[in-house]
Amino acid sequence: MRFISTRHLLAFAALALAGLGGCATRPPADDPDALAEYHQTNDPVEPLNRTMYSVHQGLDEYLLRPVAVGYRAVVPTPVRMGLRNFLGNLRTPVVLANDILQGEPRRAGDTAGRFLVNSTLGIGGLIDVARDHFDLPPHNEDYGQTFATWGIGEGPYLFVPLIGPSNARDLVGFGIGIVADPFFWFGQGVVVEALGYSRVGATAVDTREGLIETLDDVQRTSLDPYATLRSGYRQRRAAEIGNRLDRRPGPVTPPAGAAPAR
């Protein structure tokens, strides 16, 4: 996303590292439970993160969420699905690069196949023909996940306004994902520039629209939404890194009485 420049990311990282917003107090060594929890939440700059979270919530309440809700209300579902497929297709080169960097030839083949099929039969990616007719469901990969499979730790948890929950590793991966995207370098001039910004805007609106229920739910049911998002993000990332989220429709377990499962 170009409006969040690398310089901003660096500035934020520097701010976080300098601990200008204050650090969470590390519990004393004689309280092993508290210490274990401190390590488990992985949030040494929690006070700063909480401030960033309130900034983000303000933007979300008055800008991001209303736009997403309006988008859903005004644009009919098939058009929204088309746009989502289209944006997903634009992302496939980055997914492919990461499949390869992670040494996953089969998944790389799936991704390449998806790009070929959807860009042609799927009319430039508007229709996910690969998923619907070729048994090639999408999966998500990014540089943060690749770093993780290379054994790089996540670093401190970071909450970044407009981006949301992240960590040092994923944030760096996010930045690389932007500059390593072939479409980022494709052509120049006003039209290309405008298309680039449109893509950033469309991605932001589409992503937020897909999260309306989930985030409403967190705000409504959690006694501490910040902590819920932190835990949710870290668990979800672990599942993504372990490729546990993408599943092909599997055989249904027969109920008891029929042949034993497994």
Binding site: A36, Q40, L223, Y226, T228, S231, T253, P255, A256, P260
Partner: protein, 209 residues
Amino acid sequence: MTTIERRVVLAAALGLTVALPTAPAFAAIDAARAATFIQGTGTDLVGAINSSAPVQQRRERVAGLLRRAVDIESVGRFILGRFWRTATPAEQQEYTRLFEETLIHNLASRFGEYQGVKFTLGRSQANTEDDVMVSTTIERPNTAAFTLDWRVAEVGGQPRIIDMIAEGTSLRLTQRSEYASVIQRNNGQVSALLAAMRQQITQMRANER
């Protein structure tokens, strides 16, 4: 699982065995049996949610179903984690009661949005030695379908739900993090969590329709 997590789980399991010396905590459970159990529980829950009975009656039905299907006490204890030990017996009792109510009212306050919900059983497989993960797909009108996994263990001879996992996120782990944060931000006072839970239940009641 990190060593810390494993230790916490182990500690939780130990705590449970100590508390209930007569009953083994979790016995191994067969995948097909767990699938049948989720199929039955899911059908009952969907039936209760979609019925045209008044909301109070539906809530009572759902409450009964949840009490039978979910191992509420040990899940609640897992979620409170290390603070279970620092809580007074009165607080523990109050917490368990509030936790059960939260579970029930949380679902009851969504009857409206879950109208017309359907679920389909997917595959189920052994998760750890002691429990089975049963996968389901939840469909609601005009909303994208999503996958919900149920962790089922055998407790006291009966299959019971011990966790729900959506998009790689375990409900009980997330909730443990949430509750721990509330207590910590209130100087380690479990009573602060109880107060927050009470207030939340009042709010959820107001949303039941």
